[in-house]
Amino acid sequence: MSNAGLAQFQQVFIEESLEGLDTMESSLLALDEGGDGELVHTIFRAAHSIKGGAATFGFPEMASFTHEAESLLDEVRGGKRAIDKPIVELLLRSVDCLRGMFDRARAGQPLNDAVSDGVRGELAAMMGREAPAQAGPARRAGDQAEAWMIRFQPHAGMLAGGNDPLRLIRELAGLGELSIEADLSRLPSLDKLDPSECHLGWNIELKAPVKREDIAAVFDWVEGECELSIEPKPSTVVTPVAAAAPAPANIADAAAARGTREASAESSSVRVAIDKIDSMINLVGELVITQSMLDTFREDFDPARLPLLQQGLIQLARHARELQESVMGIRMLPIASVFNRFPRLVRDLSQKLGKQVKLELHGEQTELDKTVLEKIGDPMVHLVRNAIDHGLEMPDKRRAAGKHEMGTLKLDAFHRGGNIVVEVSDDGAGLNREAIVNKAIERGLIASGEGLSEEAVGELIFQPGFSTAAVTTDLSGRGVGMDVVRRNVSDLGGTVTIRSKPGQGSVFTITLPLTLAIIDGLTAAVGEERYIVPLVSIVESVQLKPEALKTVVGGGELFRFRGEYLPVLRLHELFGCDGAKRSIEEGLLIVVEGDGSRVGLFVDGLVGQQQAVVKSLEANYRRVQGVSGATILADGAVALIVDIAGLVRLHSRRKAA
């Protein structure tokens, strides 16, 4: 069908255009920092090809929008107009609008919306032409009204960012009387419901004579994590307006644009460097040759040719391994695609907070598995935001502390021992030990801060109790949502740690596995069953004498390991298997670490070490707690891969129950 054909080209067009938009954005940011005139040409070319493509592939709205931006750029390029902050600002917002349009194009929704119409009007106005109805004055129109209509639609991942819609609504209620209507349209059916995602939206009517900024301020924290429109209730607008144009607050459009961009990050195709493909084709060729060589052994086998067979098998094994590496390599993409979103974020955020921030990016070419890459963005955004918000001080404070007014935020990615390490570091104030300890005591996480190492204090902010802390206290804010960051990262099989020096700044270090698809694991036997325990979470395995085991009231068991008492988790109990060894000296304790705590996993014994190709259980079944996936053993049987963090949670839940 020709329609399907066009849709396929549209897909490619959209992906290329999104790259073009990224180019435009980064070039605009470079211009803003005093880049050379060549950048204007780059931006113009990108805009021009988007315009051309949009017209060809049936997106006239997009073509005409881009045309406005292109015309403005043309004037700059032709020297008729000098580039200045307002122009860069407007063009950046145009890029956001276009991103929004592409997302709507993907979702099959109408391309134009209030935001894009508004920006388009501004573009026209900038060029001195009569803008469409909603230009200029309309934007300022609703600055004060008797009542407001607020549409608030959090993105699915908003809770993961540590923000709670309920809190925002409560805060709104502080401004005046609310009448709220929940929008259930995005609520999935129960079987698809992920309780950690936000599915509801709200239409809120606020009856209070407040300013738009006051309302927008409530949503400051969720910028980029929701779609938001704040409009005066039509009959109550104080200033008479020509057109009751929807004039969403600034925060809303930028937020919406960036938010949708994150949502669209998980694209369905991947662009691969041609040399990667070439090397794979080579390998497949080699493999075919080896296979045909081995094929000659099928008929009339002569024992004299045994060495040749052995050689062939060795070759086969090598090709298989190389091919595996090569195929994995296709999924590996440079982390630059994640880093690239930060210049804009840092710019917007530092402007809003009145701080001066210099962003340094290192190791952008470090390659990461595509799946990891798509999921690491949100935790990083959170860390960056956190560093600017709470880590870096205001310019005057920095000057008083004898530092440069401009703070430095550094993002760094590099390899270390089979892992990828991503660091977010700032040269800000560092963790406020006292505030954190006080908060932790208040939350009941610790009894006192005495004798706590710096490391242990840093660890506290990752504790779940911290996430519910009121955002308002500035110092404790450092911990908001950190447990979610840790959880997101540990879902990827990685870890987060923090190092901090008072007055000198903090470093958040995320350590990630190279790929999610293959893990190293130990095969543990429990009765008739075999489970894979990921090697990364294993500390060591020990055999215990019965006297080393202490029981505590309530049925828990503890054992002494290098000076600390660790709980024993009996895998056969948690998973309900039969025929396992019951007495502690018969089996083996694997000391594992998950979610920041160590436990001893009791199994019958270890069978061996192997690489496991991770398969999803969810694809056909559902998530099973304590199990991160399945793999297929050499004999074709399925073995489950143990999720240590999940197991620890399962265990503590049983204990609590």
């Binding site: 504790q463 979610d595 694809a619 056909n620 079944y621 707690q625 399925v638 399962l650």
Partner: protein, 172 residues
Amino acid sequence: MNHPANPAAPETATAVQYLTVNLAHEEYAIDILAVREIRGWTPVTRIPQAPHYVLGVLNLRGAIVPVLDLRLRFGLAREEYTATTVTVIVTVAERLFGVIVDAVSDVLDVRPDQLRPVPDMGTTVDTEYLKGLTAIEDRMVLLLDVDKLLQPQDAQMLEAALPAANDVKAVA
């Protein structure tokens, strides 16, 4: 979803093919479009926290596929598996799962007008897993609603989701 067997659409008078299977001396039919393949019984890997009728998962050329015993699903006693015991791999909404039955028997053509609603028989089998019955000569065949077999998904899902939501509290 193409479910031409929808009795509410009499204008599609074309017959739909069903695979019939035997279970506890009764004959059930599965929409043949949902059937992926039929395999002999092979041992499966047990999974924790599964409902009793989900025996475990098997490796279907690299895909991890849950397998349920239809007898257990219908609340019958488990029987020894014999040479005729088979696993019918079905696909519902792009998800694969295996259904263990006593034997496969036949392929039937059923026209929409041959479909009857299931009377409430008070039988062992809950009628909610049936979407109709049909009489072929003197045999009565019950049409299985495959979509509902891995159900009550909602209750299961809730059970799976709730502890996760409680985790935070339990750990804190």
